[in-house]
């Protein structure tokens, strides 16, 4: 078992001209954790990963692997494994040559290299492919070779920059599970970059959401999804409609209706988060567990495993509601132009503080 190391990132700043690629990022990554950096294009995910790998020199800040400050350590002395987005497998070497490369650099004996390369190959289920040329591999195989090369020298930290983005969906889903399994087996501290929210939620112990170079929220997938810390996170992860709410006498009011809310009500201005799959169609207003939003159906769209109903509330807000394609729910579907009662269970009624941290600049 590889001994993993925690990563402490403190106040890391990186600017390109006037762009803040990283804006005072603080992040504690636990030993053996699978942490995903998630954010839109240009948010600074790659930059942060490159700072960890040592390829980008930040303006200021501190990065520690365990107790060791590495902010000034050149990449070749950092001992972190890395899977590049395009794999960066050396085309002038065989698969075995690639995987053995880090061992060769570390002066490992030839026999030993051979043995460890074979072992790494079987770890990624590519037994017997050692003699292949790189251009004779499929995308998925390249991905595995890159992974084998990154772990063969038993680094205590593994970095991956969108390693699955070049694969088709089926293979990507499969590799997600496999990477996760491998992580459990090796127990190596892993920082994973993606802009695919589903991938982030599927694979991670924790997800760090980044926008405009700033860390917005870092929590477990469930917490990120159920209790987003800001409108940006709510919108970026999953679908949601945010409706501003009013306060009166300590109550939260929407369209004149007092909302039953789960958890604490945040200070300051906030919005109600409506996720399509959390809404249900109610026959009447009798169930006290539900907040009820009357509206009119605009359209119903069949999407295979689920259907989506688009409705407009009395306040004029457009919302969508998702239900699984199942006999009962389909039967209860209203048709276009009909009035509906959309219900949201109070436990799933979450208010999002309207923070200004999302503002660019």
């Amino acid at each position: 078992m590889i001994k993993a190391l925690p990563i402490h990132i403190q106040q890391v700043v990186k600017t390109y001209g006037r762009i803040h690629a990283l804006d005072h990022v603080d992040l504690e990554i636990k030993s053996g954790e699978f942490l995903t950096l998630l954010g839109p294009s240009g948010s600074g995910k790659t930059t942060l990963l490159m700072v960890l790998a040592g390829f980008t020199r930040p303006d200021s800040g501190s990065v520690r692997f365990g107790d060791r400050e590495v902010i000034r350590t050149p990449p070749h002395k950092r001992d972190v494994g890395m899977v590049f987005q395009n794999y960066a497998l050396f085309p002038h070497m065989t698969v075995a040559g690639n995987i053995g490369f880090p061992l060769r650099l570390r002066g490992v004996q030839k026999d030993d290299i051979h043995q460890r390369v074979e072992h790494a190959l079987s770890t990624v289920q590519l037994d017997g492919l050692g003699d292949r040329r790189i251009d004779q591999l499929s995308g998925g195989q390249k991905q595995r070779v890159a992974l084998a090369r990154a772990i063969v020298f038993e680094p205590r930290i593994l970095l991956m920059d969108e390693p699955l983005s070049a694969l088709d969906k089926k293979l990507r889903d499969h590799m997600q599970i496999e990477l996760r399994r491998l992580h459990e087996k090796l127990g190596i501290t892993t920082v994973y970059v993606t802009h695919d929210q589903r991938e982030a939620l599927t694979m991670s112990d924790r997800v760090a959401v980044i926008n405009h170079g700033r860390l917005i929220q870092c929590d477990s997938p469930r917490t990120i999804y159920d209790y987003p810390a800001s409108p940006f996170v709510a919108n970026f992860i999953g679908e949601s409609t945010l409706i501003p709410v009013k306060r009166s006498n300590g109550n939260v009011v929407l369209d004149g209706q007092v909302l039953k809310v789960s958890g604490a009500v945040p200070d300051g201005r906030c919005s109600l988060m409506l996720r399509p799959e959390r809404l249900t169609i109610l026959p009447d207003r009798r169930n006290p567990d539900y907040n009820v939003f009357p509206g009119v159906v605009e359209e119903v769209v069949f999407q295979g495993e689920s259907f989506v109903a688009y409705a407009v509330l009395e306040s004029g807000t457009h919302v969508s509601m998702r239900g699984i394609s199942q006999r009962e729910t389909v039967a209860s579907l209203p048709s276009r132009g009909k009035a509906v009662l959309l219900g949201l269970h109070w436990e799933e009624t979450v208010l999002i503080p309207e923070a200004n941290e999302d503002a660019p600049g």
Binding site: F55, M82, F84, P91, H92, M93, P102
Partner: protein, 294 residues
């Protein structure tokens, strides 16, 4: 038995297309034949007749008997090899530097290399003569600055020839080298250093092997061009550097000896082809070596 649906028509279409393709390329084929195959064949034919116009191999045997011919071939190869070596030594670091620059800056650097291309070869060669001769710029400044007190022999010998040839051949080396270095994804070098290679090892183990195709291509082009070079050694060599092409010129101009001249040409061509063949094998060898992960 009846043909499959439309099979006959489709087969006809294919034939028609092939015929059209052949017809279209015919003029080019004729041209190539007329300006390359015919003259070379004619030269070869000429080389088979001795001074009395009798069919014999004497033109060739003379080449192997006479020491002066051997010396000419040795000089030719020596000049070509040295020029290639110096071109590599100058071009490699230069191209590497350019390849690491942003594209816009690199374009300026490339432009400076290509600039001489727009000047006549003869003018450039004579310009070097002006710079390198006994009372040329270099010598005057060197003596003025007290670096040396007797004029150095820079022109009218091998030195001058090499300086001129290297200068003229440089673009042929820089262009393929630069192109192949540009094509090397920066991630390869990054990956190497991530895997533990210090900058020197990352260069030798990853960057250099990946730049080899460009390097070998440049070397072959320069070497082959040098083998048949005439103007620069003629002007800057001062008669001391006699290459095959110059001998051919004297044979024809002075002695009107087409037979021997043709034989020289044929031998030079065969040697050139041999070099190309060797380079071809080498290029493949490099690939094979690479595949071993060596």
């Amino acid at each position: 038995m009846a043909d499959a649906l439309n099979a006959r028509e489709l087969r006809q279409d294919e034939w028609r297309e092939k015929l059209a393709m052949f017809g279209l390329s015919l003029p080019a084929l004729v041209l190539v034949f007329a300006i390359i195959v015919v003259p070379v064949g004619w030269l070869f034919w000429l080389s088979l007749f001795n001074d009395e116009g009798v069919l014999s191999l004497s033109n060739y045997t003379r080449m192997f008997d006479s020491k002066s011919y051997t010396r000419i071939f040795i000089t030719t190869f020596k000049v070509s090899i040295l020029t290639t070596v110096f071109c590599v030594l100058i071009s490699y670091p230069f191209s590497y530097f350019l390849s690491q620059l942003p594209k816009r800056w690199a374009a300026i650097g490339l432009f400076t290399v290509l600039l001489p291309f727009w000047t006549s070869l003869l003018v450039r060669t004579y310009a070097w003569l002006v710079v390198l001769q006994r009372k040329g710029l270099v010598n005057e400044w060197g003596i003025e600055l007290g670096l040396w007190d007797q004029p150095l022999k820079l022109a009218h010998n091998l030195n001058g020839t090499l300086v001129g040839m290297v200068h003229i051949m440089l673009p042929f080396m820089v262009l393929p080298l630069y192109a192949s270095m540009r094509a090397i994804n920066a991630d390869y070098v990054k990956a190497a250093s991530n895997l533990g290679a210090n900058p020197t090892r990352a260069f030798w183990l990853v960057f250099f092997p990946l730049s080899l195709p460009g390097l070998l291509a440049g070397m072959v082009v320069v070497f082959v061009l040098c083998l048949g070079f005439f103007v620069t050694p003629a002007v800057l060599g001062g008669g001391k550097v006699i290459m095959v092409s110059m001998k051919i010129e004297t044979l024809i101009d002075l002695f009107f000896n087409f037979g021997t001249a043709s034989a020289l040409g044929v031998v030079l061509m065969i040697l050139t082809l041999a070099v190309l063949f060797l380079a071809h094998r080498l290029l493949r060898l490099d690939k094979i070596l690479g595949e071993r992960g060596a």
